[in-house]
C-alpha cells in the first residue's frame, strides 16, 4: 500500500512493492450529482508508456485525467504515483501536482503574462528556481519546440497551435514524472493540429510517460503503447493499438470504431 504518513516522495518506490507502476488506479469512482461518470476504473501505466484513452464524448476521459491530477475529488478508489497513494487524506496535493503535468483542451494559458512568464512562473514559485535558471530553462524548451521567437509575446498574439505548444512547454518546465493530455487538439483548426501532435510524438520518443485523452484515432494508433476504450464509466477494453483497432473484442468498442470509420476519421 505504500506509505501512509501523508508525505509524498516521488521517485522513491514504496518499500516492498517491487517494481511499482508509474501510475496505478484502482476502483476509481466519480459522480457529478446523481450522474456517475466513472464507475470503477482500473488502470496501470508503466514508466515510459504512452496510453491513449478513447471513447465517446462524455465517457469520462477528461474526468479521469482531472482525477489523476487531483483537480476533482474522487468518491472511491485509490490512485498511486510511483507506488505511493496520492488520494489518501493528508497527502499534500500541491506536492503531487508538481510531478504530474496536465494540458487542457482550451490551453488555459495565463493571458496577462508573456509566454516566458507563463513558462517560468511555476518553476520559480513552486520549485524555487532563480529567475535566471527558470528563464534559461524556458528559453531552451521554447527553442526546442520552435517557439523561441514568441518568448515576449502575450498569448492572445499566438495561434491556437502555438498557444497549445506553449501550454505543453509550461507543463514540461516542471519536469513532470507523468503528463496528462486532455484532448489537446480538439480546439484547434485542422491545419494547426500537426505541429502539436509532432511535439507530443517527440515527447513520447524521449520516454515521457503519458496518459492521453484523444479523438485523433490515427495519432493514437501511431503513438500509443496501449489504447484504452472507455465506455459506461469503465475501461471496456485495452490493448496495443494494432490489436484494438483491427480486432476489437468488446461489442461497444466495435460499434464506436465503426462510427468513427463511417465518419472518415480512421
Amino acid at each position: 500500500m505504500g506509505r501512509t504518513d501523508g508525505v509524498f516522495r516521488p521517485g522513491e518506490p514504496a518499500s516492498g512493492s517491487g517494481e511499482a507502476a508509474a501510475l496505478r488506479i484502482e476502483g476509481l469512482r466519480k459522480s457529478f450529482g446523481a450522474h456517475e461518470v466513472l464507475r470503477g476504473v482500473d488502470l496501470a501505466v508503466a514508466s515510459h508508456e504512452v496510453i491513449c484513452l478513447i471513447g465517446a464524448s462524455g465517457s469520462g476521459k477528461s474526468t479521469l485525467l482531472r482525477c489523476v491530477n487531483l483537480l476533482e475529488r474522487i468518491d472511491a478508489g485509490t490512485i498511486w504515483l510511483d507506488g505511493q497513494p496520492i488520494t489518501s487524506p493528508g497527502v499534500d496535493q500541491n506536492l503531487v501536482r508538481r510531478h504530474i503535468g496536465i494540458v487542457f483542451q482550451s490551453f488555459n494559458l495565463f493571458p496577462h503574462m508573456t509566454v516566458e512568464r507563463n513558462v517560468t512562473l511555476a518553476p520559480m514559485k513552486v520549485l524555487g528556481l532563480s529567475r535566471s535558471e527558470a528563464v534559461s530553462q524556458a528559453a531552451e524548451l521554447l527553442d526546442r519546440f520552435g517557439l523561441g521567437e514568441k518568448r515576449a509575446d502575450y498569448p492572445d498574439r499566438l495561434s491556437g497551435g502555438q498557444q497549445q505548444r506553449v501550454a505543453i512547454v509550461r507543463a514540461l518546465a516542471m519536469r513532470p514524472r507523468l503528463m496528462l493530455l486532455d484532448e489537446v487538439t480538439s480546439a484547434l483548426d485542422p491545419e494547426l493540429v500537426a505541429d502539436v501532435l509532432d511535439l507530443i510524438r517527440e515527447l513520447a520518443e524521449g520516454g515521457m510517460t503519458m496518459l492521453i485523452a484523444t479523438h485523433e484515432m490515427g495519432f493514437a494508433r501511431d503513438i500509443a503503447s496501449r489504447v484504452c476504450f472507455l465506455a459506461d464509466g469503465q475501461i471496456a477494453e485495452q490493448a496495443p493499438p494494432a490489436q484494438l483497432f483491427s480486432q476489437p473484442s468488446d461489442e461497444r468498442t466495435r460499434r464506436f470504431l465503426r462510427r468513427i470509420t463511417d465518419a472518415g476519421r480512421l
Partner: protein
C-alpha cells in the same frame, strides 16, 4: 500619383463629437452653443438671478474664502482641502487592503473558515446598510466616549478615516469579489495543476486578471469616497466643506461652497482621466504584444 477621395482612416475621432465629417462638426457645435446659451439665458433672466449670483458666485467672496483669513475668523478652503486629500489617500490604501481580505474570506471554501465567513458576510451587510453619516457619528463620538487609552484621543480626521474605511471596505470587497469571480475557473485549474498553492494562484494568476476588470468600478467608488471625506467635517475636522461652512457663517455668503465644489471637481476629474489612461495602456500593451 496620389489617390484621391479616400477618407483619412487613421484620424482619431472624438467619441464625444461623434462622426467627424465637416457637416457633423458644424451641427454638433451649433447645437452645443444653442443649449449653453439657452441655459445661461434662463439663469440670467430668472427673477432671483442677481441675488443667486451675489450669494453663490461672488468673485470677491470666492477669492476670500479660497485664501482664508484667520484674523477675520475663517479658514482657507484651499488649504483645508489638503486634509481631504490626506484623508482619502489614507482611506483608499486601507480600504484596498481591508476589502481584499474581506473578499478572500468570503470566497474561501474550507469548513474551518466558516465562522470567519459568517463574520465577513454580516459585516458587509451591516456596513452597506447603515448610512455613512451614522457610521461617522458612531465612531467619531462613540470611540472617544469609551476613554480607551491611546485609541480614544485621536483627531476627528482619524475617526473620520476609520468610519470611511469601515463603510467603503464593504462596497469595495463586493467589487473585488465580482472581479475574482469573473476570472474563469479554468485559470484556477491551470494554476493549481502546476502545483501553485491556493494563495500563489490567487496572487499571481487570479488577482492580476481580476484587478484589470475592476479598475473602473473601483475608481467609481473612490470618486465617491473623495466627496464623502466632506462628511468628516461633521466631527469638527476643518476640511474643505467645513472651512466653507465657517466662511459662510462668518460672512453670510455662500460663495465659499462654490469654491469647495470646484476644488472637489478638480480632484475627481484627473482621477477619472488617469483610470481611462490605465485601461487604454493595458489594452494597447496586450494587443500589440510586448516590446520588452
Amino acid at each position: 500619383m496620389e489617390v484621391q477621395g479616400l477618407p483619412d482612416l487613421s484620424a482619431r475621432r472624438s467619441r464625444l463629437l461623434g462622426p467627424g465629417d465637416r457637416r457633423g462638426l458644424i451641427l454638433s457645435t451649433a447645437s452645443t452653443v444653442v443649449v449653453l446659451v439657452a441655459l445661461l439665458a434662463i439663469f440670467l433672466l430668472a427673477p432671483g438671478s442677481a441675488q443667486v449670483r451675489h450669494t453663490f458666485f461672488n468673485p470677491a467672496d470666492m477669492w476670500q474664502s479660497f485664501v482664508g483669513n484667520p484674523k477675520a475668523g475663517y479658514y482657507s478652503v484651499g488649504a483645508a482641502l489638503w486634509l481631504n486629500i490626506r484623508m482619502f489617500v489614507a482611506a483608499e490604501i486601507l480600504i484596498l487592503i481591508a476589502a481584499l481580505v474581506v473578499a478572500i474570506i468570503r470566497l474561501s471554501t474550507g469548513p474551518v473558515l466558516l465562522p470567519l465567513r459568517v463574520v465577513a458576510t454580516v459585516y458587509v451587510d451591516v456596513a452597506r446598510g447603515v448610512p455613512l453619516i451614522l457610521v461617522i457619528f458612531a465612531i467619531g463620538f462613540g470611540v472617544p466616549a469609551l476613554q480607551l487609552k491611546g485609541i480614544s484621543a485621536q483627531s476627528a480626521a482619524v475617526y473620520g478615516v476609520a468610519a470611511l474605511v469601515f463603510s467603503y471596505s464593504a462596497y469595495v470587497s463586493e467589487v473585488y469579489r465580482a472581479g475574482i469571480n469573473s476570472v474563469h475557473r479554468s485559470q484556477v485549474a491551470a494554476a493549481r495543476s502546476l502545483g501553485l498553492s491556493q494563495w500563489a494562484s490567487m496572487r499571481y494568476v487570479i488577482l492580476p486578471q481580476a484587478v484589470r476588470t475592476i479598475i473602473p468600478p473601483l475608481l467609481n467608488d473612490f470618486i465617491s469616497l473623495q466627496k464623502d471625506t466632506a462628511l468628516v467635517g461633521l466631527l469638527g475636522a476643518i476640511e474643505a466643506n467645513k472651512a466653507a461652512e465657517i466662511y459662510s457663517d462668518t460672512v453670510f455668503n455662500y460663495s465659499s461652497y462654490t469654491v469647495a465644489a470646484i476644488l472637489f471637481l478638480l480632484l475627481t476629474i484627473p482621477l477619472a482621466r488617469f483610470t481611462d489612461h490605465l485601461i487604454a495602456r493595458d489594452r494597447a500593451r496586450r494587443l500589440a504584444g510586448a516590446e520588452q
